[in-house]
Symmetry: C2
Subunit: 325 residues, 2 copies
């Protein structure tokens, strides 16, 4: 494999900067789902921690290094999970954290960012204006801007999940990874391709937010004018060139799934596994549902990357028994 921006030794070093609470997360077979999917399914559960997503693995690395350097403040744009994680990691290290988010972001995420003591600034539009505003704040205040997926610490933090996956016995045949900005996919993908190259690395993105998948397919950055998906955590429009370069090296495939499949995946994870997940975390199951033949009889792992949902919306999605399809 050509070299990505990631380095396995640095990923191992990053592990030591992360609060152990976020490491060595549950990884287990969900046999109750398997008759519905036609394949063996293992879930890597990244929701059982104080911020209910994998993002703290990256923000722990960022905040830890900032604190060591004597920094006092940090800013990021976020759809919610990165902001919540940065707020948590920053609070524990005495950092002033500012999070810029879209006014239309998931309310539960925004509430938690505030509750964790971060300054929250809301902007109109989607995630892209938030990124611009966060960059402006960083320039004006002379503080560190954390850019998800671009900043190597966010990829290294996510990549620590990969280290835990490759230790699994027996190993699996494919790993399904939610694709948003690309930190999770390039981080975990790098580790798999380095330490377990036989495992197929498949990225999954919503049809309604296909920019990075289209870019991967065309091997050049493709942007989109808008996004239309409930999977708020992966709804970017401007892929980052350096991240695309890495993704081209580590992903075996990138697939797009329909909203109905994401909802069916969320419902199945609730009904058969007792897991509340946010839409992004159901992308893996959605991909299996859309292409059962591809996965038939194989052992597939998927990363359940977050569970931050607005409960009213969640109840609509997963419905009552009367509303089952």
């Amino acid at each position: 494999m050509q070299e990505t921006r990631l380095d396995t030794a640095r990923i191992r070093a990053a592990r030591r900067l992360i609060d152990p609470m976020f490491l060595d997360t549950p990884l287990y077979r969900c046999e109750a789902l398997e008759p519905h999917l036609g394949c063996a399914l293992s879930v890597k559960l990244e929701t059982a921690n104080p911020v209910r997503s994998f993002k703290a693995r990256g923000t722990e690395v960022v905040a830890s290094r900032l604190a060591d350097d004597g920094s006092q403040a940090v800013v990021c744009a976020s759809a919610g999970n990165l902001g919540q994680a940065l707020a948590w990691s920053g609070r524990g290290r005495g950092l002033d954290v500012t999070v810029v988010a879209s006014r239309s972001a998931t309310r539960a995420k925004l509430d938690r960012i505030r509750a964790l003591g971060a300054r929250l600034e809301l902007v109109d539009g989607d995630h892209e204006p938030a990124r611009q505003r966060a960059a402006a704040i960083a320039r004006h205040d002379g503080i560190r801007l954390v850019e998800d997926s671009l900043d190597i610490e966010t990829c290294e933090g996510a990549a620590t999940i990969g280290l835990e996956l490759v230790d699994t016995v027996p190993s699996f045949d494919a790993v399904l990874i939610a694709l948003g900005g690309g930190a999770l996919a390039t981080g975990v993908g790098h580790v798999m391709k380095t330490l377990a190259p036989d495992v197929e690395v498949i990225c999954v993105q919503p049809l309604g937010a296909p920019a990075l998948t289209r870019s991967w397919r065309q091997r050049r950055v493709v942007t989109t004018g808008s996004t239309d998906t409930i999977a708020d955590g992966v709804a970017g429009r401007y892929p980052i060139p350096a991240v695309l370069d890495d993704l081209l090296l580590v992903a075996d495939d990138a697939v797009l799934v329909r909203e109905a499949s994401i909802i069916a995946g969320m419902r199945m994870l609730l009904d058969q596994a007792g897991l509340v997940v946010e839409p992004s975390a159901a992308l893996g199951v959605a991909a299996i549902l859309e292409d059962r033949e591809r996965f038939a009889g194989r052992h597939v792992a998927t990363i359940v990357c977050g569970s931050n949902v607005d409960m009213d919306a969640y109840r609509r999605w997963v419905g009552s028994p009367l509303h089952k399809p």
Copy 2:
């Protein structure tokens, strides 16, 4: 402390017999619940594993020792979680597992027991006739009967949770433990009283299934004629004398909670923490809700001991936003 039937060195040894998948489970603060409870709350999450409850810690010890002794079969009575766990642990070690359960047991639990390859025998009535039938099978077939809470391995397995709790920094002030047959309470209680004696050990049982709590209060076995609770996992009527003796040594208190509080606890764990739990696993939160003054400002830990629910019933319990109290 006078000596219980448990021994800390044996508990540490038991840990080595348990599949690591069931050990070192998540333990974390749920800050989003705290404004609703008036205290700091940490949850010890025993649901993120293949059987969705803590019971496999005990059945791993049982099945491991049986397999070492060359045994080929084992039987237990179960409300569902023990049976599911024994089916899982037995399958991996080539043991024929028979589970006897009440015909009225939670269907999701019965389905999983069957799916895991165990022979399931259903009996009329509640858990007590199932216990009698399992004992009869053991006598007739000359095989090992696993009796939850009486058999020391079930207590030692549960006690390994205690070892993980006492390693927490910072420590907490009280631990709230679901009280059913008593394996969880006496196991975890033994470890707390031995290694962290300042932590208050509080057992929680439903008002509708109060036999062991009443026994603890009266310091003698008190049986009840029936049970009336949705918390199927803790609905016994005949406390075991030896378990009561241990409980009298390790429990600082035993409290009873109303069904409405259990349901409110389940809903709160879903809405604020994204956790699906079965009624028994909400007993700790229910106890806080019923006595906020007692816990105000303290750091309380509770063991989320299982998540096996019938989803139709669960949806009724946690309701829609329109049905919130």
